[in-house]
Every structure is written in structure tokens, then in C-alpha cells.
Symmetry: D2
Subunit: 265 residues, 4 copies
């Protein structure tokens, strides 16, 4: 389990979400309140859109709370759309390649949750990644695989449809493999223009996910970064939040095919 924040709106310094608030993401790295574990110290990452089409990445294996480079970058870099993530490994190694966000071309992705029985499923899931994208797999996490799989089934054209497809495929593979552990996902995806967030759990217990929309920005977070709880809305389970820079966010249901329905068909 991990914690993350995503921002889209009027350009702000990354630190305004990552470092400055009372319950900033760096604060959450040692004091997460709505996660199974309070410590998210297995590396972290930043992904931000600046003047280039493709995002910048800064990922490191130190805990977010002890990295001076992070403090500097968060204080200096201003962005209209960025992701930040602190990691609590569910088994895979602490390496930069396993830190979120993941980038491919102009796309950025990060995830909090887990694919139950990952070590048994890994191979089958990787087989769903198209050849051209497989060369971009540099780590061993379920999250990176989920990202490449989603891009591979049309994620660039239809992110919500592709993620729905990924989740349905994962559920089918888990059923085939007889895995009882749940699939739990809160993820963010962007092409630098639109911003998508997803919340889903096969057992009705998804990781926490909140969003807030102001006149100038949309913020999506694992945990609210301040105490204005009335401003934050939970993203409903089995839903996507679809946002663009100058429009109201929209909550869309995720029509994930569950294996039992498949059998019934």
C-alpha cells in the first residue's frame, strides 16, 4: 500500500501538495492515517509536466522524509499537472524502477493497491503487454505491468475503457489461477492534458481516495492533506474520476467484468 497525490490546474510549486500542508505527502510517508501501514518508506517519486510533451520523473529509493533533493525539487519546480507518490512495498524490491510514477511517452501512471497473488500471476499479466511496450518494462511491480497493459489495449484513445478492460482481464486471470486474495486499485493516469483517477476493489474494500475541486485546480489524494474534511469527496468504489483543465470533474462508473458474471454468461 502506498499514498499519492495528483494535481491539475493553475501551475503551483510541487511542494504546495508534497511538502507544505499539515498532512502533506511527505508527512504521510511517516504518518499515513487511512492505510494499513503508517509507513511509506520504500522509495518515492515525482512526475510532472512542464514545457515538454513528455513528463519529467524524479524517483529515489530513500524515504521521502529524508531526501534533500526532493525538498529542493518540490520547492523549485512549478507545474500545471503533476503526480507524487510514496511507496510501501507489497513484496517487490526497493529500487528506482519499482517506484511510481511510471512514464511512457507523454503518459504518466501511479498506483496504490495490489493485485492479489501477484507473484503467481506476474507472467500471465506480462504476457498481456504488447511487444512494443514490453521493452519499456524496467521493474517488476504489478503496478507497472498494469500501466503497460492498459496502454496496450487502447489506453491512449480511451483511458476509462482500457482501464476497465485491464481490471476485467486481471479478475479473469485471478479466477483462472484460483486466487482468493482481492484486487484493490486506486490509480491515476494522465497524458499531460486530461487527468483520470480510478478506484476499485473486488472485495468492496478499496484503498482510500479523495478529490477536491476549486476555482483553479483539481486535487486527487489518498488522504486529505489538510483538515478541511468537508471540501474533500471520496471517489466512489468502482468509479473513475475524469478531469480536464477547464471543465468540471465527472464521476463515471467502472463496468469491470467479474469472473462470476463471465461464468454466468
Amino acid at each position: 500500500m502506498c499514498r499519492w497525490v495528483a494535481y491539475s490546474g493553475q501551475p503551483i510549486f510541487l511542494g504546495q501538495l508534497v511538502a507544505d500542508p499539515e498532512h502533506s505527502l511527505i508527512h504521510q510517508s511517516r504518518n499515513a492515517e487511512e492505510a494499513k501501514v503508517g509507513i511509506n518508506g520504500d522509495g518515492f517519486g515525482l512526475g510532472w509536466y512542464g514545457e515538454r510533451d513528455e513528463p519529467g520523473l524524479y524517483r529515489e529509493t530513500l524515504p521521502a522524509w529524508s531526501d534533500d533533493n526532493l525538498r529542493h525539487i518540490a520547492r523549485q519546480v512549478r507545474s500545471r499537472l503533476f503526480f507524487a507518490h510514496v511507496r510501501a512495498s507489497t513484496g517487490t524490491a526497493t529500487s528506482r524502477a519499482n517506484c511510481h510514477p511510471f512514464a511512457h511517452g507523454r503518459w504518466l501512471f501511479m498506483h496504490n493497491g495490489q493485485i492479489g497473488g501477484w507473484s503467481r500471476l506476474r507472467r500471465a499479466v506480462e504476457a498481456r503487454i504488447p511487444d512494443a511496450l514490453y521493452a519499456c518494462r524496467t521493474g517488476t511491480t504489478d503496478s507497472e505491468a498494469m500501466f503497460l497493459m492498459t496502454l496496450g489495449q487502447g489506453g491512449e484513445a480511451d483511458p476509462v475503457g482500457a482501464m476497465t478492460g485491464t481490471l476485467s482481464a486481471l479478475r479473469a486471470l485471478m479466477a483462472e489461477a484460483g486466487i482468493d486474495e482481492p484486487l484493490r486499485v486506486t490509480a491515476a493516469l494522465s497524458d499531460g492534458s486530461r487527468l483520470y483517477a480510478f478506484r476499485y476493489a473486488s472485495d468492496g474494500r478499496p484503498p482510500s481516495l479523495y478529490w477536491r475541486q476549486t476555482a483553479s485546480a483539481i486535487e486527487i489524494v489518498s488522504e486529505p492533506v489538510d483538515r478541511h474534511r468537508d471540501e474533500w469527496h471520496a471517489v466512489p468504489d468502482r468509479s473513475a474520476l475524469v478531469c480536464c483543465a477547464r471543465c468540471a470533474c465527472e464521476v463515471v462508473p467502472l463496468a469491470v467484468l467479474e469472473p462470476s458474471r463471465v461464468e454466468a454468461a
Copy 2:
């Protein structure tokens, strides 16, 4: 604040204290129970005596819980006398040079606690380190300074006397600088043969420190590594524990000169 273990006795694998017990040092790195903070994730270190006169060191900035190298070394290396330490920084940087233990010649030292007002005192404390030893200072911690200062005032010949002198000098410097914050120390020192532990606090609230002696070994720990609480004895405040390989440990009072007494004199 940090957590540490020291061992002297029949050679065992480092992992037998560091990794295997229910509340091993690695477990304490995320779940310390008797410290102000539960997380000791700002690096760690091992120091062990093998076939050489001088000890080996392995120090790393990753948290102890996520370092595969630590797991391997703890599983492979057997030693008759070793130190292990997980660090929670009290302000200085997360760097290998600031990780404990510190070594000089055949001497090894580690520390849990803090010198109140360190950033203001640093210069005066460093001035007490003899020239020949100052060249060995590679980090910026109060702990390393305390070690070199102790060696510098005869620590090799009379460790307890020298540590008493160091603590007295620190108290005097703190008083001079008008520092109200306390001096709190639990430290271990060894030359590869004898093992010394120290517990002291200027305000009567020293960090926790326990020891256990069996037929084959002496173990000194910030927190007991198992639930046999009756086997573990607290080291008294303002005391040194003096141990050698084949003798009973002895508790010796630390006659630290307190500034008020100095004034009274």
C-alpha cells in the same frame, strides 16, 4: 533517537539478533516500542570483529527493513563481538558517514540519544577532539564527535573514565552555552575484547537500555528482542556496564560532574 544491539560471546550469526527474533533490530526499525519515535529508518549499520584486529563495517542509508545486502550479511557473517544500529536522525543528514557504528583502529562505538542544542555546540565539542583524531571525522553527528572526544581523552586505556570525562565536559559546555535541553546517552564501546555500555541522562530520562547474560554470551539492547522480559535487566541511569568475554558483567556508576556541582564547588 535510535535503537541498537551489542553482542559478546560465543560466535553467532549477526542475524540471530539483527533479523531472526520476534522483535529483532530489523523489526525495531519499523516498530520500536520504547522510543519516542517508532520509525528508525534513517540508515543503519553493522560493526563486527572477525579475524582482523580492527572491525568490519557495513553502513547504508536505506532503511534496515528494505536492504537485501543487510539480510545477506546478517545471515552469512558470524562474530564473537558485534554491534548493530538503526538510526532515527535528530537533525543531521541521512548519509553513510552519519550512520553508526563508528570505527577507529580497533575501536567501535555507537550511540542512541542526543546532545541538546547540538547545532550550537558542535564547534566547541569538535574543538575537544585531538588533531590526530580529527582527521578521522567524516560525518557531522554529535555521536561521532562524542566517540572521537572519548578516544582523545584516554578512552583506550580507561573507557569508563574517559566517557565520564566526555559527559562531564559536554555538560559543562552545555551550561556555558545556556542550553536547557537535556543530554541523553546510551552508548556502546569496544576494542574487540572488552565491551562497555553506558546509560546517562542529565534530566533523569535516559533512553531505554537492557542487558542479558547467559552461559555463552552477553547481549545489550535498546529493547529486548524477545518476550522473556524476566531475563532482561535495565541498565541503571548514570551507569556503565563493563563486560569481558569470560567474566560476569559489572555495573559501575558514572560519576559525571554536573555544572551545578561545579558551580557549588
Copy 3:
């Protein structure tokens, strides 16, 4: 391209090959003389057999020349059979998981060379790794894949036969994919008892590999660590060197099936 050393014989400190000689492995990390590049600064690793059946590993992304932990471990750890490797990446990331040696159970493997066209072949090569072993793949190198593939085709029972099979399979896959770049391999493999080294190139230009046998030990190295050139023998191209602790080493031809011969058949 990389540089490595392997040792089997009377227990010595790792440093006696890794750090002390005039042209030690650490010296080679900045001054390799028989490799395409003189710098091998993309991480390094040690693998050694001690009292356990399975080997210990120490792998790190810093250059070998600047790692104090390496100096300490090389000075303290004594072993009867060990591997050491300094890495010059041929494209994959500088991460611990991509550093050699690789371990699985009691087996240890390291490699210098490359599979031509690796990024195009990776997927097909990984498909040859049996499911049970695939879970152990933690990096993205061709070397680790070659190791798991070799174990997967009976490497534990017949290392020379399995490595011959791996090389033949790689040559076939390369031919199928229309890859013209060569396959060049110098590798070491051990189960903690026997020691195997392999030298092969599809284009007749294998990386350098030497061995020396004394009364007490066998040393196999990418480059001789001292200037006694007459003591060092080149391992012939397309050969394995098979060694055990108390027997003379034997040079065995590697009957790799070349695609053209396959076609001719």
C-alpha cells in the same frame, strides 16, 4: 562489458583478489586493459560461500572504487569459493537487481558479454525460463535471464550441457529474429562445490578470460590480476573450464549448435 574474478581453493580473504593485487578487480573497475571500455563503474557485486549452503550476496550501484562497504567486506570475509564482478552496462539500468552475481538456492552465476539485440529478444528468452524460476527474476538483464534459463534446463545436474543448450537456444532465437550482432559470453557458475567457467563468441571474438591453478587454488579472471603473465592461461573460445576443489581443472569443448548448421541439417 564487465570484468570479473572467481576463486576456489583454500579460504582467503576476498580482498586478496578484489582489492590487494596490482591489477585487482577494483583496479580494473577504472583501468580495465582488455575490454572495449576501461571503465566498469555501473555497480558491482560479491557472492561468496561461507557456512551456509547458499551463498551470500553484496551488490551495490556505486562504482567499486568508491564503496567503503566493499573495502570492509573484502577485508573481513574469508571464503573458499567466491565470485566478484564490476559492471559496465550494455544498456540496462544501473540497479542492484541488475548487478552480478545472481544467486538462486545454492547456485551463483555471473557474466561478461552480451546477447546481441537483447531488447528485441528479451521476451522470447524470458519465455524459456520455467514458471518456478521466473518468480526469481528481479532485474532486466540478459545475464540474469541466461542464468535462470540454464538452471531451467537441467543446469543443476549437468551445468556444461545446460549452458551448451542455453547458448544453442540463444543462437537459434537470434537467427529467427534476424539479429546480426554477435553473442559473446564469458560466465562463471557454481553450486558452492564445483566451479564452471564458460567462454564463447558466435563471431570468434569472445571477451578475455584467463585461469591459473596453484597448489592451493584455482583463479579465473577476465584479466590477470598481476604481471606473472606466464602463470595465466587463456580459456579457449567455445570451451568450458570445469574445476572442483581438489582436482585438476579440465577444459571441455562447448558444442553449441549454430543456426547455419541447424539449417544444413
Copy 4:
């Protein structure tokens, strides 16, 4: 010895000096041509001015050539004034705190060269750093000490005068200590507005230093980053180069007091 680049002018991406040119700073990290050693692999650093008064820093112990974060930051961050440095240690540890540039308030400093006999001089040099600045010393290099010493003697008001004072003081301390090794310095200093470069050697053999001024910018480099050798001018020995954003650079002599002259006085 190290290599560095400094830039002031119309905002450009850091990569335009650090990564893109034929003989970029990253290229120099493995292939320096005008330094005693060709490898500058003991860490690196970036310092840049953006929207804040104080500069951002990114420093890392990996070699510049293998750090993905560096590639990303160099590609994303645009700055009107920045420093970049690749390090070849002259003895002190490979740690972030020992990587250049160093920052204090709005000031940035980096250095290539060395203070002869540093380990013997360190203490005396540190004693010249004022108390208030000493708290900012986080590493052990001669370079950081030189920076804080220069700030301490009025560097903010008169950088050239203060650096002259620092060099004179160092020469005096070296003479007192009977050190025959030379003092060699090429350094850059900035407050985010003006840019200063210094070249000095006590033995007439300063490290290489070049500058180029175009309509839009001034570039100062250890080695020219391209093959237009006629555009690059060597900074003369015992000189400062004083530049501001919209004026022509000026070469100013450095009137360093040499100990012999002092004695003669």
C-alpha cells in the same frame, strides 16, 4: 579534480550544456580530456536559479552517466543561471554532502582543484569559518570550507576581494604547516544575478578553464563542450571573470598574497 559548467543568460534547459553537446558535461564524466584523470565518477550535482531567490540543488553519488533522474531534470528544467559539476574525489568520501555545487542562502559555489595537504590543514581552515556559517557545513571537503570561508569574509559584498582573501589565507596556512603541495583552484560563485569564476594555482599549473560569450549568454566551462575552439577563451591564471546578465564579462587579476611576499614584507 573535477569538471564543471556554469551558465548565465537567456533561459535554457540545463541539458543544453549538461547532456546534449558532443562533449557535454555528462560526456566529460567519462571522457575528460584536459584533466589529470579522465573519469569523474564520484557523484555530481546541479544548482539552478528559478523563481525563488535561493537556488535549487540536485546532488547524487551515482556517476552522472548512469543517473536517469539527472537526464530528466536536465531535460525539463530551464534556467537563466545554473551550475553543474561532475566529481573526481581527491580523497574525501563519495557522499551527497561532498558533491558540488554548495548552496547557502542565495549563493551557489562549485570548485575544481585542491588545497594541498588538506587533511592536515582542514582544522585550521575550518577555524576561519564564522560560527553562524559553520552550522551549514555538512560535508568534509576543502571546497565547501573554501566557500563558507569566502562568504565569511565578506563574499556577499565583494566576491572577488573575499576570494582573494581566502586564497591568500590558504597560502599562509599552507606555508605555516610546511605544505609543499600546490593550491589549485578553478571555482564559480553566484548570487543568482552576478556570476564569478576564478582561476588560480600557486605553482602556475591551474586546472583548465574556458569561457565563451554570445549575444544571449555567457558559458564558463572546465572543457569546451563543442569543437568550436576559436570561440572559447582560456581564463588566465590568477584571474577572476566577472559577469552579469546584460554586460560584457570582465577579466580581473587576483592579487593573492603569496607567503614569500608576506615574509618579504
